[in-house]
Amino acid sequence: MNRSTIDLWVGLFVVAGIAGLLFLALKVGNLASFSSSQSYQVQAKFANIGGLKVRGPVKSAGVVVGRVADVRFDNESYEALVTLNIDLNYQFPRDTTAKILTSGILGEQYVGLEAGGDGVMLKNGDRLRLTQSAVVLENLISQFLFNKAAEGKPEAKPEGK
């Protein structure tokens, strides 16, 4: 085997190997989206975040507009403090509502943003005041059973609260 043939094959091998890694990074790992774009950070407090993870999507009207940057526990209010990175291309009013929602029945949890009507837009470092926690299945079931039990008793007051 002469020298130039070896060089040719090694060159092809290196090109193919790098192409394979690029295929993994671009097509499989989706490097292109959301890594280069600029973003701003807002915070939101939730009473319960359910299974929300760091790097989970932030969606508005079903479109991904950002990522969850950080999740930590606030020692003073005993709530979860979630930091969101939102793409600078998407501006939201200051009274936007953040909800923790689930995609599908067993799907991952994400933060849903619902725009409000304020004229002032959110800036870097702002805090979202209106939040809605994740739905915890156990609480939902116990509420349902409690209502059922209240319905069953004839002498119980309607709307027991």
Partner: protein, 268 residues
Amino acid sequence: MRVADLRARVERLGSGVTSHVHRLGFASRFLAYLVLHSGTALRRFRLTIAEIYFAGVLSLVIILVSGLFVGMVLALQGYETLQRFGASESLGVLVALSLVRELGPVVAGLLFASRAGSAITAEIGLMKATEQLSAMEMMAVDPIARVVAPRFWGGVLSMPLLAGLFSAMGIFGGYLVGVQLIGVDAGAFWSQMQAAVDVRNDIWNGVIKSLVFGVAVTWIAVFEGYDAPPTAEGVSRATTRTVVTSSLAILFLDFILTALMFTGGNHQ
């Protein structure tokens, strides 16, 4: 009699441990010497290119074919299980994550150890047995710098590329079976995969794994070859030992690396 018997046993254990530690120390010093004297291999890069050809290019066929079939089998098996939970759209995630995180680096490493590692050991061992290495020393050519270092760097550079190709080919195989044969929706296959696979956490860690395996396998291969007794039997034993030791090393290192890389992330 009993006491003497026991004493002999303990002595055998002791000498076994000592000789292993001695060998490990020798291998470490060998690696240090090799890295310090690899100037020739990197300056005269053509030497290393020839070794990339033998270690990398000639391993391509087995790596590509195995990758394709591993991906196809993963898709078939994964579909059977996922479909029970009504989650067959997640097939892409399953195939991509298993390949990129584990199977790509590990299986490519095992194949590389048996395809290229054994060849390196046999070649260096035979050069030693036929006194070519001593002849080089007589001509004031350092055999470690001239023969061993290019083989080492050739293997280290080839391994990440081979593992990347293995994973890419496996995902292509998973696509063939999952989307073309079984009929999982192509959009869901790719988009769920892209949403779940992280470039830094998954792909980059996979590349680091394959690099570590490449260093381990070629280090073991060149050391076993250089250390082989210069007889036909010695070379054959050294070759076997290369495959066994490097396979075990890959599996052990994989456990350590996985524990370091993929367990911290879930606790936010």
